[in-house]
Every structure is written in structure tokens, then in C-alpha cells.
């Protein structure tokens, strides 16, 4: 999100908080979020794709709702109204191509109206047919989940992304010379996919609450958390949406402070640190080990301040709109071990992986005909979870190494705690000793995490190793 987009979002949140009461609020949030999906989408070199990707986001979300809703709720009138609002909104956005001004709500000039109408009509027909079907649509749940994962893999694997761009360029009659994975920057897709998979899985396990289309769509594309999370749970989100916390004088102050803190963290601190943070260019240029460490520390704090700044902005805006988004960070660099670090860093992501991967995998490994021993189960579960989190950032060798680095770290942390619990507690009886132990833990954990950032910040293992050599003063 740019500063302008945040400020407009803030103004909208203030207006919504001050002047709108319960009834129109969900619809206003829905309209604002649909508009935001289009407005936040960056311009892409592929013709018209920066219009169709937001359309796909909305249509995918509507389809996911259809699959997760009960047959009775699918037929309720309010859902048809919500669907009509959204589709008309997309059509209106498409009609802005006839305004004699530069595109202001879409990344570039919208496509021909006839193609927009065609797509919307086809989708509306399919949507109506699906919603009129009498039974549950369980098979579709797997289909959509598989589709989301497939798109995710294409977007995160550079080779597949480039191939997809190539195909799209051929289809649109554009030159294929400059096809690149970056042509397919689908705004917020990761977070949208996480939320959708959460609802699809919870529907399968019977835990999903009944929500209407407007609520579901607003949950998936809620504009403050669209681009960088946090990943809320639908049952909690909808509760706030239905019964927004009235904003008292103090509530405004808390929300405002959070927003300002986020803006400061992101646009002052993180953006300044970005000028000196480790990257693929300066990794080779830096001359001494001391400076190399400084660049790495700058990166560690930049990534934290950037991400947690965005979270603060999302939480601040959310509160103004009556939605208490969950916390995503809790002083992660001050945690005395890696397990606690991962309980405080991008918390909603780790909770998601815990709920939908780690726990089911652990259960599967510990049950069945030949259950794995506890230690092996911990090892496999932690390693594979962290590997998956690594791959979520991008399908590349360095993200695999980064995931394994943390997977191994978590396992070692687990075993170390087990082995040293007794002697450590026997030794650290006095507060100074406990503090010393904790300080050492914080220092070691911070540096373990920071060294891991080398693989995260740099594009290849070779460059990462070259930089690690610099860190220890080797040529």
C-alpha cells in the first residue's frame, strides 16, 4: 500500500467510524474492499491482466463462498443483492475507460466493455446455477483448494511464472521477448488464498460458521489487511463485523496511535533502513566483516519494521472500522529461543500453518499402523512446516535453505530445552542468573534468525555463502 492509499483508507475509516452505524457499515466495507482490490493492484506489462486479476480475486472469493455456504443460505435474498452490488461495481469500474482522465481506480485503462460484460454474465450464470443447486458442493471444495495451490505454485516459481507470462503474452498477441515471472504480480493473492483455504478446510471439518456473501467477501478482501495480513479467522472477523466495537474517545486514540506508529515504522524507519540493508548488489560490494554485519543488522530490522509497520497500519485502520484484527508480532527479536520467536513473528501465518499443516501432519505421523517415535515426529513436522513456510515466500533454493535453517533450529531448540531443562533451572535460581540466561538466549536467537535472513535477502545460495564468508572475514 502506498502512503496515499493508506491515507485514503484512513479517511474512509474515520468517516465510517464517525458517521455510519451498524446497518450500512458491512456494505460500505464490502464496496471499499472491492474497490481496493482494483486500486491496490499494481500495473502490469501484460495487457489488461491488471484488471482481470482483481476480477479473478472477487470471482474466486464468490465461488469459494458458494462452496462453503449451506444450500439454504445460498438462496437468501441478501446474498443475491451482495452479488449484484459486486458485479455492478466491477462493471462500473470497467466503464471508467470512457472517462477522459487517467485511470485512477484501476492500474491501467480497463478492457473493452463488451468483454467485461461477457465475463460478468458468464460468471453470473455459473454463480446462479451453483447457488441454486440443492445439495452441498463438497467436491468443489477440493477443486478450489487445489486450484489455489496450483496458482500459488505458478506465482511463486519463477520458471512457471515466466512460462505463464509467455502463454498470456501469446494469447494477447504481445511480444514474448520480455516475458517474466514479475508480469504476474497478483496483489494479495497469498493472503487471499490462506483465508480461502482456511474457510474451505473449516467447512470440510464442519467448523465454519454460517456467513453471508457480503461478510465472506469482506473477510477475504478486507482492505486494511489485503496486502500484508494479518490472516484473521473468519468466525472472529464476522463477529466484529456483525457487532462492531463502538469507538469511544479512547478507542480512537488507540487506533490513531497504532496507525501513526505503523506509518512511522514503515515509511520512516524501514524505508530508511532499506537504503543500507543487505541486498544482492551490496552483498558483493561490502569491504569488511564489520560493515557486512551492519548491513545484515539493517536488513533484520528493516524487514521487521516494514512488516510490523504494515500490521500496525492494518490493525489501526481495522479498529477505526470496528474490526479488531489479530496481532501479528510480539517483540520477536527479544525472545530467548527460536520456538518463542516463531510464536511472536508473523503469528497469524504460523497459527495458520499450525492449524492446517503441522497439527494434522503430527497427528498423522503419530497415529496409523506404524507411528513414528516422538522425536522423529517433531523433527519431520517442524522441518516440513518450516520448509513449506520457506516455499511460501518463493520457490527457490534460498527459501528452501531458509526454511530448513529454521526447521533444524526449532528441532535443536526443542531437544536442547529438553536436555538442559534440569541443569539450567538448577543453575539459574537467582534473578541475576535467570536474566543472564535469558539475555544470552535473546542474543543467540537474534543472531540465529539474523544469519537466516542472509538466505532470505539474497537470491542464490552461492551469493549467500560468499556473504557468509565475508561475515567471518574470509575473502
Amino acid at each position: 500500500m502506498t502512503l496515499l492509499q493508506i491515507l485514503v483508507g484512513g479517511a474512509l475509516a474515520v468517516a465510517c467510524g464517525l458517521f455510519l452505524h451498524d446497518r450500512p457499515r458491512p456494505y460500505l466495507l464490502l464496496v471499499a474492499s472491492v474497490l481496493a482490490v482494483f486500486w491496490f493492484q499494481p500495473a502490469l506489462p501484460l495487457r489488461e491482466v491488471d484488471f482481470w486479476l482483481p476480477v479473478a480475486t472477487v470471482m474466486l472469493s464468490m465461488t469459494a463462498w458458494t462452496l462453503t455456504a449451506t444450500p439454504e443460505s445460498r438462496r437468501e435474498r441478501e446474498n443475491w443483492v451482495a452479488a449484484a452490488i459486486v458485479l455492478i461495481l466491477i462493471l462500473l469500474l470497467g466503464l471508467t475507460r470512457y472517462l477522459n482522465v487517467d485511470p485512477f481506480l484501476t492500474a491501467s485503462r480497463p478492457p473493452q466493455t463488451v468483454s467485461i460484460v461477457g465475463v460478468l454474465a458468464a460468471f453470473a450464470l455459473a454463480f446462479a446455477l451453483l447457488n441454486r443447486s440443492p445439495g452441498r458442493l463438497n467436491r468443489g471444495l477440493w477443486l478450489v483448494a487445489a486450484f489455489l495451490i496450483a496458482v500459488f505454485i505458478i506465482l511463486k516459481a519463477p520458471a512457471l511464472g515466466t512460462a505463464a507470462s509467455l502463454l498470456l503474452r501469446l494469447w494477447t498477441g504481445q511480444s514474448t521477448t520480455h516475458a517474466a515471472a514479475s508480469d504476474l504480480q497478483w496483489l494479495g493473492f497469498s493472503y487471499i488464498a490462506f483465508r480461502m483455504i482456511h474457510t474451505l478446510r473449516d467447512r470440510q471439518s464442519g467448523r465454519l460458521p454460517d456467513v453471508n456473501l457480503a461478510e465472506y467477501l469482506t473477510y477475504i478482501i478486507f482492505f486494511p489487511s489485503l496486502t500484508a495480513g494479518p490472516i484473521d479467522r473468519i468466525e472472529r472477523f464476522v463477529q466484529d463485523l456483525r457487532h462492531p466495537m463502538p469507538l469511544s474517545q479512547d478507542g480512537w486514540l488507540v487506533a490513531g496511535k497504532r496507525l501513526v506508529a505503523g506509518l512511522f515504522k514503515k515509511f520512516v524507519l524501514a524505508d530508511t533502513l532499506a537504503l543500507i540493508a543487505l541486498n544482492a548488489t551490496n552483498a558483493l560490494q561490502v569491504r569488511t566483516a564489520g560493515w557486512a554485519w551492519l548491513l545484515l543488522y539493517a536488513y533484520a530490522f528493516e524487514i521487521y519494521l516494514d512488516f510490523s509497520g504494515y500490521t500496525d497500519i492494518a490493525i489501526g485502520l481495522g479498529r477505526m472500522l470496528g474490526i479488531n484484527l489479530p496481532e501479528n508480532f510480539n517483540a520477536p527479536y527479544l525472545k530467548p529461543n527460536l520456538i518463542q520467536f516463531w510464536n511472536s513473528w508473523h503469528m497469524t501465518l504460523t497459527q495458520w500453518f499450525r492449524a492446517y499443516f503441522f497439527n494434522p501432519l503430527t497427528r498423522a505421523l503419530r497415529s496409523g499402523r506404524r507411528p513414528l517415535p516422538a522425536v522423529a515426529t517433531i523433527f519431520v513436522s517442524q522441518l516440513s512446516t518450516m520448509l513449506l513456510i520457506g516455499l511460501w515466500h518463493g520457490i527457490s533454493g534460498n527459501f528452501v535453505i531458509w526454511g530448513l535453517w529454521h526447521g533444524v533450529g526449532l528441532f535443536v531448540n526443542n531437544r536442547w530445552s529438553e536436555w538442559t531443562r534440569r541443569p539450567a533451572s538448577a543453575w539459574a535460581k537467582s534473578p541475576p542468573r535467570r536474566n543472564l540466561l535469558s539475555a544470552i538466549g535473546v542474543l543467540v536467537t537474534f543472531h540465529y534468525v539474523t544469519l537466516g535472513w542472509v538466505f532470505f535477502a539474497l537470491p542464490t545460495p552461492e551469493l549467500s555463502l560468499a556473504f557468509l564468508r565475508k561475515l567471518v572475514g574470509m575473502p
Binding site: M245, S248, Q249, D250, G251, W252, L253, V254, G256, K257, T272, L275, I276, T281, N282, Q285, V286, R287, T288, W291, A292, L294, L295, N324
Partner: protein, 380 residues
């Protein structure tokens, strides 16, 4: 009840958000207007360079800040404050030489140690019994007025010798105020015009006039941000020694030209002396005062390609450049300036992307020639 809002309730009792916002706005407006009222011209002198980070070997200049850890700004104080020249007073035992000029002296495509100043420093010259230390005060725009402005400020650093490298493109009157660094320093320019009675219009529209609003924090937000970024990039300069983005490849200077003999809109055959700013050059000597000044006509690419009988290179038709050389030589003789005409001193193979920019080897050759000229000046 949310714990945050509970604690805020306790702490923030009686604080009304709108009132708070209004007060913050008033404080900002007062500060903003106050900033516009006070003279903040000295702000550029506050610098992390030569304090936290080593000074830069050349002035800040650059378009691709993220790659070069460098940026262009118009604040001459900040430029000097970031330069290694500001590291301290002239130490005893140092023979301080300032090099003035354009991009060829600044060193486009060259690392700091490969520039003329870098190569001269590597030679370890001893002049008048002191170790010579050369400071690169080149700046990549062609204008004698720009050089004069820099020299005027640089004199406070007590040089022992000034070497002024120049070329025809720095002479046309139309070029004097066109350089952005000049245009954005109107007060300095007017002062120089008045002090040395220069034949330049002090109210030339090229000079960027700042209004009161331009001097407020809001009006100066870009300049203030640049100033802050320059300080932050000091860390990258210290960490990497990089102050320029070096492209992997570049387009070599043009060797073939169209059959066009024009120079600054004139096709000759006479180059009007009145159209060249020799008065600005002469003012340089007055600015330098007792400090000796060596004038150098810098090397240019002399092409043997298509239409090279008409033009030496893309910038200069032969008729204009030949007359300029003659005028410059005559000016130096009449003024009694030490003068080096090195126009053809470097072979065409040693030029890079323009007819002025040299390869490191070309700079070595140039450094040798300049070094020869300054080895034995008249010592005090």
C-alpha cells in the same frame, strides 16, 4: 474489553482525538512557517561525513541512488560537508591541490582511485617540500560559473594550488546559468556577478527563485529528504567505497558524424569571443587571489571517422574548437596564467562513453602530464 483500550482509557482520559489532531496540525503549521522565516541555509553544514563516515572523494552526484549510494542535490554546503576536503584544516606538510572541472574531472565511469585526483594522489608527488594531496572538486556539468561558484567556496579550505580543467562547452554564455547546481543557487550566483562585474544577467529566468512557501518544511521536503538520504548513504560509501553506478557495458563515444558544422546554433566561420564567458574565467583568478592557478584545456576525442574533417567529435566542429583553443591560449598568455593545452594528449582509444570521459589508462596519461606541470611551481 480490549486491554489496549483499557490502558488507553486510563492514560488518555480527557484527550479528545479531534482536538489532538487539531493541536498537532497547529504545531506543524507553526513549525512549518517558522522554518520558512528563519535562515536555514547552514543546515547543509551539519553532516555525518568526516565524523561518522569518511568524507567522499568527489561531490555527491548521481541518478540511480539505490545503486550508486549517491544523489544529486543543490545544497553546496552539504556537498562540501560530505567531501573529504572538509575533514579538517590544511595539515602542515600537505600541499593542497584543488582540481576543478566537469564530468571528466569528477570521473564518470571511473572509481575514485581511477580519477585524475585519485591517480595524482597515487603518484605521491612532493611539491615545495610537502606531500601533494589532490582533491576532486569536479562536478558533472559544463559551466565556468559552476566552477567559479565551487572555487569561491573552496578557497576557505586554504589550497596551495588550483588546477582548473576546462573545455569549450563550459564557455558559452548560454551555458553559464543552465547548470542545475548554478540555477538553484541564485544568491551565490548574484553575489559573484556583483563582486566580479560579470556579464551575466542577475535576473536571468534560468535562476530558480524560491518563494516563502518554498522555504517552509513542506516546500523543502524534497531537499530535506535528500539531505537526510545523503547522510544515510554515507554508511554505504564507508562500507563499499562505491559512489557511482557502473554499467556492465556502455555505448562508446560516437566516431562518425553527420555533415554538420554547427556549434550552439552557429555554423561559423567565426566564434564570437563575446559569446564566451572569459570574464568568468578571469574572475577565477581574482577568487584564487595569491594561490597559483593552473589552467588546463582538457583532452578531447579527436575522431578519424566519417565527417571528421568537419568535426573533431560530436560536440565540437573543427572551426569552433580551433578558434576557442587560440582564444584560450591568448587569454592565458595575456593574463600570465600557467597553461597546459592537452586537447590532443590522449589517443582516441582511451575515451569511453563521451568525447571527454577517459579510461583509467587515459587518466593515468593525463595525470602524468598534469603532474609534470606542477612538480616545480614557484614555492613561497
Amino acid at each position: 474489553m480490549n486491554p489496549d483500550s483499557m490502558s488507553a482509557r486510563n492514560k488518555g482520559q480527557g484527550i479528545h482525538p479531534l482536538r489532538l489532531l487539531a493541536k498537532a496540525l497547529i504545531v506543524f503549521v507553526v513549525l512549518d512557517l517558522g522554518f520558512g522565516l528563519v535562515n536555514t541555509s547552514g543546515l547543509g553544514r551539519i553532516s555525518a561525513y568526516n565524523l561518522l563516515f569518511p568524507g567522499r572523494e568527489r561531490f555527491p552526484f548521481g541518478q540511480e541512488a539505490a545503486e550508486s549510494y549517491n544523489l544529486s542535490l543543490y545544497n553546496l554546503d552539504a556537498m562540501f560537508a560530505s567531501h573529504v576536503l572538509s575533514a579538517g584544516g590544511n595539515p602542515t606538510g600537505e600541499f593542497r591541490v584543488l582540481l576543478l572541472g566537469d564530468s571528466s574531472v569528477w570521473g564518470t565511469l571511473l572509481q575514485p582511485q581511477e580519477t585524475l585526483a585519485g591517480q595524482l594522489n597515487a603518484e605521491g608527488l612532493v611539491v615545495c617540500g610537502k606531500g601533494a594531496r589532490f582533491y576532486n572538486l569536479g562536478y558533472p556539468t559544463a559551466s565556468l560559473m559552476k566552477d567559479l561558484m565551487i572555487l569561491d567556496q573552496a578557497m576557505s579550505y586554504r589550497p596551495d594550488l588550483v588546477v582548473w580543467l576546462t573545455t569549450l562547452d563550459a564557455f558559452p554564455r548560454s551555458a553559464q546559468l543552465a547548470s542545475p547546481i548554478v540555477a538553484n543557487n541564485p544568491a551565490r550566483v548574484r553575489d559573484l556577478i556583483a563582486r566580479y562585474h560579470l556579464s551575466l544577467d542577475p535576473h536571468d529566468p534560468a535562476l530558480v527563485e524560491s518563494t516563502f512557501w518554498d522555504r517552509t518544511i513542506w516546500g523543502q521536503r524534497r531537499d530535506l529528504a535528500d539531505l537526510a538520504r545523503l547522510q544515510v548513504y554515507g554508511l554505504m560509501w564507508a562500507a563499499t567505497g562505491v559512489d557511482q553506478a557502473y554499467p556492465g557495458t556502455f555505448t562508446p563515444a560516437q566516431r562518425d558524424f553527420p555533415a554538420d558544422a554547427s556549434y550552439h546554433g552557429s555554423s561559423g566561420p567565426t566564434l564570437e569571443e563575446s559569446q564566451l564567458a572569459f570574464d568568468v574565467l578571469a574572475a577565477g583568478q581574482r577568487v584564487a587571489g595569491q594561490v597559483p592557478l593552473l589552467l588546463v584545456n582538457e583532452p578531447i576525442l579527436i575522431s578519424s571517422g566519417r565527417n571528421s574533417t568537419i568535426r573533431y567529435n560530436l560536440s565540437y566542429p573543427r572551426w569552433a574548437y580551433d578558434q576557442y583553443r587560440a582564444m584560450l591560449g591568448q587569454f592565458a598568455r595575456q593574463a600570465g596564467w600557467p597553461y597546459l593545452d592537452l586537447w590532443n594528449a590522449i589517443s582516441p582509444s582511451q575515451f569511453t562513453n563521451t568525447e571527454f570521459h577517459l579510461t583509467p589508462a587515459g587518466e593515468t596519461l593525463l595525470a602524468e602530464k598534469v603532474a609534470q606541470a606542477i612538480r616545480s611551481p614557484s614555492c613561497p
